[in-house]
């Protein structure tokens, strides 16, 4: 020990005030003579004994609760390393009576717990306890005679009735404090947000952690709501609060939108709340404050919005698809006089559309792979006759649907008039993606080994569909070349999601 430490130890020992020190498991490690005198114990009895074994706060209603408060205070100091005070602790201690038997004697203490650190860790806790029994008894008898002053809103709701009832019985503030604390704990831990506002300016008296989370953990305690949440001004909520305070009628909001500053300097954030403003009345029945309680239902509201959007989008897509099918039917009918060949051609186009839908459904309409679409549209003609050669290319749904129709028309045409109409004919499809910053798909469809080719006398639906689809829907370019040694087509299609105009 250094000389200063020796002096301090001597000072504590000589002090007329009661001190003791506890270590781990709350065992006494040291107590000064004043403490031993007031408790009428010896150092030998106490050192090494857990505090709550030596003193259990006595029988009676408040005994266990007083023990709990004392233990909680010790534990808080060990856990946080910060000093903790209990201004008034009702803690009976056993004292030997005139006949030598132990009897509990009511005592009130004011207790200060100070952490003693070693290397930054709380190793011991020093208790400084002042016996305030005389003072407290005096204070209590004085308070009980006087009429209770106007209570704060929170007292009116959680303690008011209990307090006034207790006045006629016994001085029992500790129990009331316990019950009040229990209710407060319920508030604080409630999953919904809870706040209590006092007075006509709606001053935040308490708010729980869900409320703190809702408003972005701002320091609002003791502030009027207009000052605590300035961004809510003009959104109608302050007016509702004023009305509840003035009329005493509760107000309920459902999926009500509020804009909140949840992060400093960030844009306001929209939240949707189910909530109720409930007036709190004092003992005389006048509105003393407002109890705010509710739930953040933003997730539910957003998913309902998404669902409505999806239904609208689905309806739009279905109607658009029906118009597409209508167009295929009308155009196909124009080029087929015979109902039987019309049905065949119409169905084949419908199936091509349906195949691409299947591919897109598999990817939840996120897109489809170019190679997979080509395989689908050409496999009916034999995989050994159609050679597909190119890297994987992810196509967005609209492009996938367009290219599905286009490859169907090319394959049908090849089977009817081109290379696939002859036994030895073949189709070579090669593609690549150039310019990775603004990717452009280049694809060639080359027919070899077929019959001699002549340009068609009139442009049929197939070639019109191909040309218009590429230019209009894909914002790309296509060249159809009816070369005599075999038809070929060259496509150039931008793959950006944004259409160029």
């Amino acid at each position: 020990m250094t000389s200063i430490e020796t002096d301090l130890a001597a000072a504590l020992n000589a002090s007329p005030n009661a001190y003791f020190i506890v270590g781990p498991e709350l065992k006494f490690v040291w107590a000064n003579p004043a403490y031993l005198a007031v408790t009428q114990r010896t150092a030998a009895e106490l050192i090494g004994t857990p505090v709550f074994e030596a003193f259990d706060a006595g029988p009676g209603l408040e005994g266990p609760e007083s023990s709990r408060r004392l233990r909680a205070s010790f534990e808080k100091v060990f856990a946080t390393g910060a000093r903790n005070d209990i201004p008034v602790l009702h803690y009976a201690i056993p004292l030997p009576g005139p006949d030598g038997t132990l009897a509990y004697e009511d005592r009130y203490w004011s207790v200060i717990h100070t952490p003693l650190l070693r290397d930054g860790v709380v190793e011991h806790v020093l208790q400084y306890a002042i016996d305030i029994t005389e003072l407290e008894n005096l204070r209590r008898s004085a308070t009980l005679e006087a009429a209770a002053p106007a209570l704060h809103a929170i007292d009116a709701i959680v303690g008011g009735a209990l307090l006034s009832g207790a006045r006629s019985v016994q001085a029992d503030n500790a129990r009331l404090e316990t019950e009040r604390q229990g209710l407060m704990d319920l508030f604080m831990q409630a999953p919904g947000f809870v706040a209590v506002l006092t007075g006509p300016d709606h001053v935040f008296q308490i708010h729980n952690s869900a409320y703190a989370q809702l408003i972005g953990h701002r320091d609002i305690s003791g502030k009027p709501i207009g000052e605590a949440l300035p961004e809510v001004q003009g959104q109608g909520y302050f007016e509702f609060l004023d009305s509840v305070y003035a009329t005493g009628e509760p107000y309920e909001g459902r999926a009500s939108r509020v804009q909140l500053q949840r992060t400093p300097d960030a844009p306001l954030e929209s939240r949707f709340l189910d909530f109720i403003y409930q007036p709190i009345r004092d003992a005389r029945g006048a509105v003393a404050g407002i109890f705010v309680q509710g739930h953040d239902v933003t997730g539910t509201v957003r998913s309902a919005e998404r669902q409505k959007l999806m239904i609208d989008e689905l309806n739009h897509r279905v109607k658009n698809t029906l118009a597409t099918v209508q167009s295929i039917a009308v155009q196909t009918a124009r080029s087929h006089v015979d109902p039987a060949t019309f049905a065949e051609g119409f169905q084949a186009r419908l199936m091509a559309l349906s195949h691409t839908h299947n591919l897109l459904t598999r990817s939840h309409w996120e897109g489809a792979d170019l190679g997979a679409i080509l395989e689908h549209e050409t496999e009916a003609h034999g995989s050994h006759r159609v050679t597909l050669n190119g890297p994987p290319v992810a196509l967005e749904p609209a492009a996938a649907l367009s290219l599905g129709m286009i490859f169907h028309e090319l394959a049908t045409n090849a089977a009817k008039y081109g290379a696939l109409s002859a036994p030895a004919g073949r189709v070579l499809v090669d593609w690549s993606v150039a310019n990775q910053t603004r990717p452009v798909l280049t694809l060639t469809w080359r027919e070899i080994g077929g019959p001699p080719v002549a340009p068609p006398e009139r442009r049929g639906f197939g070639s019109r569909l191909i040309e218009r689809n590429v230019r209009h829907d894909l914002a790309g370019a296509v060249k159809l070349d009816y070369a005599s040694d075999g038809f070929n087509a060259e496509f150039s299609v931008p793959l950006d999601r944004e259409r160029s105009s």
Partner: protein, 125 residues
């Protein structure tokens, strides 16, 4: 049946070529001359700004992911009557345009003819 629509130049704004081809076929069957089609808002605006005469227009409400209303405004400014075409139904129109002549996808030739005549303020005689 009337010949009122014969020879009319009708702008088509529609991003899906198959649907545009259907509208053109229907318009041609009615004796109209289709103009376009425009597949984007920008193309539509350019065609409205073109000095060539326009008698009417058919506007798909949702064009390449955007709403066609700037084109509708430009047509209104030029005094050209127009008809919306939509898969959303009339609820897909904002309040400002509710009640305007509209055809629903899929179309019939009759529906398009009647909507065009309503927009152009001509009577079927």
């Amino acid at each position: 049946m009337t010949q009122t629509l014969k020879g009319r130049r009708v702008l088509v704004v529609e991003d899906e070529s198959l649907v545009a081809m259907l509208l053109e076929t229907i318009l041609e069957d009615m004796g109209c001359t289709p103009v376009g089609p425009a597949g984007t808002i920008e193309e539509g605006l350019a065609m409205v700004a073109d000095p060539a005469s326009l008698d009417a227009a058919l506007l798909d409400v949702n064009v390449a992911g955007r709403q066609v209303f700037p084109v509708a405004d430009a047509l209104t400014a030029r005094g050209v009557p127009f008809v919306f075409s939509t898969g959303y139904g009339e609820s897909g129109l904002p309040d400002a345009w509710r009640g305007h002549a509209t055809v629903q996808k899929p179309f019939t030739e009759n529906a398009i003819r009647e909507a065009l005549m309503k927009a152009m303020g001509v009577e079927n005689v």
